[in-house]
């Protein structure tokens, strides 16, 4: 198992190097001159040239790249021009916000989608099956900003159950001391019930929005995978041996059906992490997605590069976790490593 992990990490190095090169070139190829942007519309040619020299963007590409790599090696991602903060600090505060939202959304989706998929597969054509189909079609076809706004309209504006959709915590509460950056975890560590509940309330609607979107692929994959496994020979054996229906479905069928579901989970999670910009916008969530988009619009290179690199590292970690999960579930995978 350990050699498998090391092996996968080694394989990730070339992809990360590729990501560094491509993001660097892409940000340089983007239209727009950061120097002109920050000098403002009234700036003179000379002022722009001065800023350009200060930023180093007047040097040849290869020299800029060399400096970028040197900074990277020291763990520095550069400075954001818009906020004036080091990019690494921005990411450190914003990534947990996005990760907390995404993980809770995904957890919610799994808790709903997996039982739905299993029930739909064990009783094809039943009411549960049809409900699953309708919910997953709706989840895929409704854009997240729409479901987000709809939820805000219903639960905040109409019913008043949810707090106002701005940020991670009510303005009258102060965030818990920073340990993990996950407010829920940090509040628990600080034994601060009020902050925990407050953070949970803020989190509920955006997480639900994400989960409605993530529900569909998970439920569908669970259903399809369960259907295939339920018609397999060994499930027939388990039934013929008179094992209880619950044992047949959970221990025999579901454990075999879970591998494609995990793959789907990985895909959904990595997709959500980068693509929940819209949800972050709707709920004024200080996440990494909105940060990257703002930086991109401002031609602010450093944060964009930092964002893409962070995402790439996350994807690598995620895939590694999926591989480990595979190995734990399926003994046949362990041999291949």
């Amino acid at each position: 198992m350990l050699s498998l992990i090391l092996n996968r990490l080694m394989l990730a190095i070339p992809s990360l190097i590729g990501v560094v090169i491509v993001t660097f070139l892409l940000t340089r190829a983007l239209p727009g001159d950061p120097a002109a942007y920050f000098a403002g519309p009234a700036a003179t040619e000379q002022a722009i040239a001065e800023i350009r020299a200060k930023l180093g963007t007047d040097r040849p590409l290869i020299e800029q790249f060399g400096r970028y790599v040197k900074d990277l090696a020291r763990g520095e991602l550069g400075q954001s021009l818009t906020t004036g903060q080091p990019v690494s600090r921005e990411i450190a505060t914003r990534l947990p916000a996005s990760a907390e939202l995404t993980l809770i959304g995904l957890l919610l989706a799994v808790l709903l989608a997996v039982p739905m998929g299993i029930l739909a597969a064990t009783k094809p054509g039943s009411a549960v099956d049809h409900i699953t189909r309708v919910v997953s079609t709706a989840g895929v076809s409704l854009p997240v900003f729409f479901t987000g706004l709809l939820l805000v309209y219903v639960f905040y504006f109409r019913l008043g159950w949810a707090p106002s959709p701005v940020g991670r915590l009510d303005v009258f509460l102060s965030p818990p001391p920073h340990v993990t950056g996950f407010y829920l975890v940090d509040a628990l560590l600080a034994r601060d019930g009020e902050v925990f509940v407050g953070a949970l309330k803020q989190l509920a609607l955006p997480a639900l929005t994400l989960s409605i979107f993530a529900l569909a692929p998970i439920a569908r994959m669970t259903r399809a995978s369960m259907l295939a496994v339920l018609s397999s020979d060994f499930v027939r054996t388990a039934r013929a041996s008179g094992l209880s229906p619950a044992k047949v479905v959970v221990t025999y069928a579901f454990r075999n059906a879970v591998l494609p579901v995990i793959t789907t989970l990985g895909m959904v999670l990595s997709f959500l992490l980068g693509a929940n910009v819209l949800v972050e916008k709707v709920f004024a969530w200080p996440g990494i997605g909105s940060f990257a988009v703002e930086a991109l619009i401002a031609s602010d290179f450093a944060p964009v590069q930092g964002f893409v690199l962070t995402m790439a590292a996350l994807y690598v970690t995620l895939n590694l976790l999926i591989d480990i999960a595979y190995g734990l579930i399926d003994p046949r995978v362990r041999l291949d490593s």
Partner: protein
């Protein structure tokens, strides 16, 4: 006659398919007595496995039992509810399948799979189950059973997997074992060993065995009585020796003529003309073999006589081969 371990009467099964309704079984009647081994033979598609699946209650969802009963003790297996049936399966009536590799859960240790059945049926405590599973592996002739109990099916050979299947099937000492092509795909020595294990257990515990095969030679060697199926009908059922000495149904005779013996040459073997009739047809002939039969008469369109499930002899033919004088 001793009271039968299983009596199947008027069993009819239909499959709903895109091409229409397939009448896979029509009024199938047979029984197996306690301690008896019967072989159900017939070509692929004759309904041997469907019969077994119907009795076990593990038919495909597209299949429907349209008539009949399958009596095991005081219980009609076709009418009991799901939970009673689940309690009977594995305890009273067990089944082993062909392709032992795919018939075992690929990601569960074989010892655990045996223990699952023990815990369900055999009044074994969770702490004693693993040890009992190892003992069962030993009784089916697996060497180093303690180590093998920790193996996954993919780490074992096909013959070994089939032994594990047998251990699972026999875990709760069933009174009836259905073996669906248990040796298909195994080499000849392993075949013999597998069949010996089953036969020994049957002899020791008085277990009845239904042995489904298309291998007439194996059936002749192992079964007390043979039931011949063709296109969802039982065409003939007789004690093995009688059947081979003097087959009376033209299909049985053709099957025997198509089976290689120790001295036969390829040119001696005869193929059976034609194929199974299309079971989707709305109007199937009374005798489903009539289309392939050389002995067909005008009268063959008349309904066949009903076979008595409890009788040890059965014949469904209007123009059988003549009964041979005492041999």
């Amino acid at each position: 006659m001793a009271s039968p371990a299983l009596l199947v009467e008027d069993l009819s099964v239909e499959f709903r398919t895109r091409g229409g309704i397939v009448k896979a079984l029509e009024r199938v009647n047979f029984h197996v007595a306690k301690g008896e081994t019967i072989a159900v033979v017939g070509e692929s598609g004759s309904g041997k496995s469907v019969t077994a699946y119907a009795v076990m209650g593990i038919l495909d969802p597209a299949a429907r039992v349209t008539s009949g009963r399958a009596v095991l003790g005081a219980l009609d297996l076709l009418k009991t509810d799901r939970h009673t049936l689940a309690a009977v399966r594995g305890r009273e009536i067990a089944m082993i399948f062909q392709n032992p590799r795919t018939a075992l859960n690929p990601i569960r240790r074989v010892g655990d799979q045996i223990a699952d059945v023990l815990l369900r049926h055999a009044n074994v405590t969770p702490s004693a189950a693993p040890k009992k599973a190892v003992e069962l592996l030993e009784t089916v002739g697996i060497t180093d059973p303690a180590r093998r109990a920790k193996a996954y099916p993919f780490e074992l050979s096909g013959g070994m997997c089939q032994r594990v299947m047998i251990a699972i099937a026999l875990a709760a000492n069933p009174s009836l074992l259905i073996a669906d092509e248990p040796t298909t795909g195994l080499d000849v020595t392993t075949q013999a060993i597998i069949m010996d294990i089953i036969a020994e257990r049957a002899k020791a515990t008085g277990m009845a065995t239904i042995f489904i095969t298309h291998d007439l030679g194996l059936a002749a060697e192992r079964a007390d009585r043979i039931v011949v199926m063709h296109a969802g009908h039982i065409v003939e059922a007789r004690p093995t020796r009688d059947l081979f000495a003097a087959p009376r149904h033209p299909y049985t005779a053709a099957l025997i003529a198509a089976t290689p013996g120790p001295t036969s040459q390829l040119s001696d073997l005869r193929t059976i003309a034609g194929g199974l009739p299309d079971l989707r047809a709305a109007e199937l002939p009374a005798c489903r073999y009539a289309g392939r039969c050389a002995r067909r008469l005008e009268g063959c369109a008349a309904p066949l006589p009903r076979v008595d499930a409890a009788a040890s002899d059965a014949l469904a033919c209007h123009n059988p081969l003549p009964q041979e004088r005492a041999a």
